[in-house]
Symmetry: C2
Subunit: 254 residues, 2 copies
């Protein structure tokens, strides 16, 4: 049992309007890499946001009084705070140097997922407007061009509660379910598993992150090949929702 995580090199800096699926296939070809059935492509959200032109021009943002207040508490730039508020359903917690909110998509994360790395000065990339839809459009083009059946995950690098360090995390998916519910399956001693649901899309995003890097590696797209559960989780209508814990079941929000 072997899984390969293959970085696609040579994808140029992404600009608004770029056709990501075309850039991916071209770069893959240059390294003699063809897409296979059951390949899972993990794509960094910054690349998607840039291709979609979903950029925040921080100089044009007018901070509200609320943003100015939070900027004082957190020590963050008030324009950035206003952008975070705009991207959020709810500000959950603020403190020195941090803002944790629920994004418009439902993700609980720092800074509403707004990224100031790997984008031109004065710009910031929010999480794509509809990451599931972004993933679906890319998947459809890849499948149409190659005739292969693949899945696409849009990933972000996010911190977590209780643990230090950020990890690759899934924010959009197309072509496969993001969780694998193993309840009812048997363990090594033939006993039924009671509660195990595995967040496979997050595990795949973390695995891809090992190759992508977050600095100047220039590898925004990774192919994961050889995942045994692909067929079991194949689904044309999957989205990221099963990974988001509904607020009513969230025991850490006040």
């Amino acid at each position: 049992m072997e899984i390969k995580i293959i970085g696609i090199k040579g994808i140029p800096l992404i600009k608004t309007g770029d056709n990501l699926s075309q850039l991916i296939l071209k770069a893959a070809e240059l390294q003699d890499l063809q897409l296979d059935n059951e390949d899972i492509l993990v794509i960094a959200e910054t690349a998607v946001a840039k291709a979609e032109g979903n950029l925040i021009h921080l100089e044009n943002v007018k901070p509200s009084p609320n943003a100015i207040e939070i900027a004082e508490v957190t020590g963050k730039d008030a324009k950035l705070v206003e952008a975070i508020i705009n991207e959020s359903n709810e500000i959950i917690k603020v403190g020195p140097d941090f803002i944790i909110s629920e994004t418009k998509h439902g993700f609980v994360c720092a800074n509403a997922g707004i990224d100031e790395s790997n984008v031109d000065d004065g710009l910031a990339t929010p999480i794509p407007l509809d990451p599931d839809n972004s993933a679906q459009l890319i998947r459809e083009k890849l499948e149409k061009t190659t005739g292969k059946s693949v899945a696409v995950i849009i990933s972000d690098t996010q911190g977590r509660a209780f643990r230090e360090g950020a990890i690759g995390t899934a924010i959009g998916i197309s072509g496969m379910l993001p969780t694998w519910d193993r309840c009812g399956e048997l363990d090594l001693y033939d006993r039924e598993l009671k509660t195990t649901s595995i967040a496979v899309a997050d595990e795949l995003s973390s695995a891809a992150s090992m190759v992508m890097g977050q600095a100047n590696e220039g590898i925004p797209v990774v192919i994961i090949r050889g995942v045994s559960y692909f067929k079991k989780l194949r689904n044309e209508y999957a989205n990221i929702k099963p990974l988001i814990r509904p607020k009513k079941y969230d025991v850490f929000r006040e």
Copy 2:
């Protein structure tokens, strides 16, 4: 850039006193697999706990009044609750069907990491007493036998705040640092990264989990080969602490 995640098949059900490093090397040999320099071995904590004989005989546990009270709130077995209390520094949150605590090691997780899957009936496996030490002993034996320089991670499958589904998570490490601090490195636009620390040990554990499975796959040990940051993070004295957010910086605990 390619990383391989290779499952080691044919490791028998682990019993108390088993020599894990020997079992690993023997099983690897049967599939024509030799350890290489810079290999990272991820080992499921259940296998370590069983080899170390660190098992809880639930029938022998006497529930305290506190355990009985929490058992009523959570609907969990009072003996299991008592075992969770014994494994914990602090019970953080309880509710229908869940107990979140800080374990004796400092990990915030559900059920103090006590596992009732993949162990004989009536038994449960807590997190190993000192997972860093477990990792170190295995690493030293592997390195002595093979002459290769490797790292060992002990992994658990844990849930998270705010997101559904469990993921592979590191609880012990030897031979490399668990986090990669990238502050000061440059992004694609030659700007300094300000805050990016990557929890590589958690990403490696999640990647390994894609091959291990949590049911009856019988693959408790995985080799990750081709990780580019191995040399940079190589450290003989590393431990898991950098991954644990100190309580004073934890914004979600009341």
